[in-house]
Subunit: 340 residues, 4 copies
């Protein structure tokens, strides 16, 4: 395994520094014959852009136009590696020398420097959150393959907590059962309190502050039998996927109340406590995980203060969904060799 590669059957390798020439992904193992809509890939990418979110944050000028280099011909996958790339537009070479002198506080720059001996002083390099755009591209392909294989499988992803605001169980359930897009809420917090959250975030931004929060993902109509029983349990692969995202601090499966006793927890009416996974394997029920994020550290980056993300959770939603889709597709393909 190499450091910049994810997945087993649906395997992809990402590349690119945030201020280098380009970032991109090469997907190896995508089955042939799937129609890929690049507009969907682009739309997913757009959801990751800072400026998309309710005017809460001032966008860095990321136009992020996807370019396909290989693997798709006349709209269909060839079974060959799918390479996709985004040129970096915002190289800001003017800021260059100042950043070089002083690694940005709160960022991983100094860790990289110590590890590799020298690092990319151009603004985050590979440690930048910008690398997540390559995940969104891979995930957008995965979602389309899944859609073809299991048209009823749905990813329902949203902000379940932003700072001191938390969704109620009813709000969560309503959104999951609805056909709404998370983008119908400017803060991706599907609640009547959305406007309140938006103003809270703008206030934090103005104060050069930030908060953490949580993303919930509920996957409906995932077929039974996904996951391998010991080390590649579905929950293990999903946890690895989510904890590989920059600001994550934790992952919960199911969200059952762990203060319950076993007799309560395992009673019929609480089967959702399992989160849709038992013995490492999907049960056919809705799979639910919650991913916790730390408050954004970019508040410490003087150059970005005031135009920083006050809560990274909002932009992380398409990234979480992309990672989940890649794990699910990996196991959908893996399942093809479980039996003779």
């Amino acid at each position: 395994m190499s450091a910049n590669q994810f997945g087993e059957r649906f395997r992809w390798m990402t590349f690119g520094e945030s201020h280098g020439p380009a970032i991109g992904v090469v997907i190896d193992g995508c089955p042939a014959g799937v129609t890929i809509d690049l507009n969907f890939v682009q739309a997913e990418l757009n959801k990751r852009r800072p400026g998309q979110v309710g005017k809460v944050v001032s966008p860095r000028s990321e136009t992020d136009q996807v370019e396909v280099l290989s693997g798709i011909l006349e709209g269909k996958t060839l079974g060959t590696p799918i390479a996709m790339m985004i040129r970096n537009q915002d190289a800001r070479s003017a800021d260059y020398e100042s950043v070089k002198a002083k690694p940005r506080a709160g960022h991983a720059d100094d860790m990289w420097n110590l590890k590799f001996g020298h690092s990319d002083h151009r603004g985050g390099g590979r440690a930048s959150g910008r690398e997540t755009a390559t995940r969104v591209m891979a995930g957008a392909v995965a979602q389309q393959v899944i859609q073809k294989l299991y048209p009823d499988l749905q990813f329902r992803t949203f902000a379940s907590a932003i700072g001191r605001f938390e969704l109620t169980d009813t709000e969560k359930e309503n959104f999951i059962q609805s056909r709404q897009s998370y983008d119908e809420y400017s803060t991706r917090f599907p609640s009547g309190r959305n406007a309140e959250v938006e103003s809270y975030l703008k206030d934090l931004q103005a104060k050069h502050d930030s908060v953490g929060g949580a993303v919930q993902i509920s996957m409906k109509n995932v077929p039974l039998g996904l996951g391998q029983p010991v080390f590649h349990k579905l929950k293990s692969d999903l946890a690895a996927a989510f904890m590989s995202i920059g600001a994550t601090a934790g992952v919960d499966l199911g969200g059952g109340d762990l203060s319950m006793t076993g007799q309560q927890f395992h009673s019929q009416s609480h089967s959702k406590n399992y989160g849709g996974v038992r013995g490492g394997i999907s049960t056919g029920e809705t799979i639910t995980l919650t991913i916790f994020f730390k408050p954004t550290s970019s508040i410490l980056d003087v150059a970005r203060q005031g135009r920083h993300d006050p809560c990274i959770v909002i932009r992380a939603i398409p990234v979480v969904q992309a990672m989940a889709a890649c794990v699910i597709l990996d196991h959908l393909l893996w399942m093809r060799t479980d039996r003779i």
Copy 2:
């Protein structure tokens, strides 16, 4: 990658059904020339046995004697695969036919049956918690290699929550800083309340009930620079490791209060909020994670009621430590190729 294999540089594959002839592990990638004390391996295995825990549970008769099949000569690793095996003693063939007729409620048996078409009806098969003994063997080797490379590196692992009991921050910190073994507490809950917890658990057992809880692991003196920056972040590999254990429901890194704002969270005095990992890479500070466990489902297994584990957390401690050691060693070896 295959389903029963873990790690990249320090890679191991496990085998064995709980009521088959044997369970075991083959470790590939262990450097040559390390002295391995088999007594340590056996001692770690013993800590995983039901009967070890404060007489809280009646032990299934697991003698679990480790047998080395290869890779160690005259007490030292050869650089060849280290195969270790435990014969299953407790095959209980008498119970056989009854179990065959009816998969045990609450267990993963039925999932396996649906996935693979047929499954091991002899009592859990590979889904049984018994497979974790193979992890403990791998981890006991890993711990000894680490000890040789970094004598100051320490794993401090303990039950931080058992049902409604939770350690205070002070209790946690005292134990981490001490030289105590978790085995000095019958419930592995290092608190003056240990006796109270023990009686609580006995009571649960008598009622055929169980509770969940949490294991905390704090790794001291881990060198800076472990972890790969994108997908093999140290936190991602650790999360995958812990979430591959049967009853886990969640993982937290650091345990910082996520309701803090960014300015609080990232202030100097809260650097422990990072949990010892930044940008996916170890900082040289203590690495702390908490792993959450569901209440034991074996309460639903009529054959084991009354001698079931009332809280799996206790036995899970050596397993958590073993998995952590394997991840840490993997990255210690990986780090050797980071630079020219």
Copy 3:
């Protein structure tokens, strides 16, 4: 990837030193539901034993009884790792100290010692040809899975050259088309000259000498489409498999006359020049490879002179067939994810 592991979908890890407690294999990725006949596994193992071959060589006492540790229940694969082991009987501890003092000339012992710092002085350790028994076990499982999936697929394997003796094209073709087993010839050289070859080999053995030779494998009725187009071409994976066997010196695909011009080579009547593989992918025609072996180096091992193998090719035949079966099965499984 680790050093002692082979295959992608049908993946197996081997362990064991020649004079340690045991040698064995763990197979991960064998589909569930296949009936495995252990007598077939044992029969394949027996074909690898020195004593089997026309009384040409005096056998070392390798009884080599296979023991299944996991993965098979009531004769069928469970989808869990299949662990198989052979206890080493012939530990010859008497010879121990003398060998320790002086690595055996012509063997790889000294290479290992230099590489790993210390090595197994008990007689070859892991470098011994004895490790190939573990390959035969894996291959015997693979052959049975293939048989179930493609009953018409046949492996036709034989000695095509032993020292100065070479099969004619007609002899090769006759054997491939026949239903004969290679064991019907004491030297596994399917020719009227078999008795002559046998006496030649006995003569070499008496003179403490040896010769090289070649194994041909022809695989009939392999389905079209096996192999991946760039790095995992079928010919590449087969070459890697064969060149991982101890005494191999070369591999040829097809055996077309390379002195032909392109117009001759690619003409319709010579389609067998492709060896059944084009563009890295099986064509549905018979796949033919020849593997070349060096003269046995065990002639240099004083302790074994006179009872050494005068030509390793004979014993290598079941090993070659085992490796081929594992590669073919790997790609049969891989093919399941080529298309949507």
Copy 4:
């Protein structure tokens, strides 16, 4: 493992169809801190171009300018993935529809079509020899890392046979010991007969014919201890590397005369019979392999007749060297974890 990926520690994934937008490679696992000279990468690429070879072949207009997308900053590797790309210039869309209608005889197009359900009808797609340019880029990076680690290690690669012409042992040895570049000979056949070979090839080309041949690679001053003892023997990984190149038909290690008896073969004066590898591990002596190539099948491609390669061996030389360098570097990095 995925189909378009090579190597373990020094791992790279390639992408691109011959008539798609671009071809490229992403290298993961290149250590940080190595100075990379892009002129060297470009020079290696140029050696692969048809037109370079003694005016023997009319070049297809492959300008093949390498573009670095990531992983190198200010001339040094960052330890992050190195992505390099070549835009395809020669898309020849005019020929498009005709090719679409009729897969090119003698090419792998039809195999791909059957395997993947649809294929790239634009002229070879991924099966085209054009993909080897991506290998040359990876190899050019590997060669520079090796140069830094082992300045004395040298790759001596050349055509040892072209059709009916074969180098004598003396010619081979002279070239290996010299400081000549293979490019000093228009046919890369280092012999006084070079001009004769050139005219032979021109004649073949005029007749729309081709021949096979052989490439010899001799690696000098490779350190002792490279290679893993069982499945990743150095010879096995090299064989896999070479047999993954399109037109290869065979690989020989050492080139010892296999008709020798063991006593001759293993005598002191023939230690070169081992080819520099024993027990799968490099001995410190020169490592020599010969790779055999089939006659070019592009003679069957009407569109290219007369400007086809009469002998692919010539262009294959930088590709063989690139693959060898990648394998050697992989094992140089691997060796760092052999011992404690």
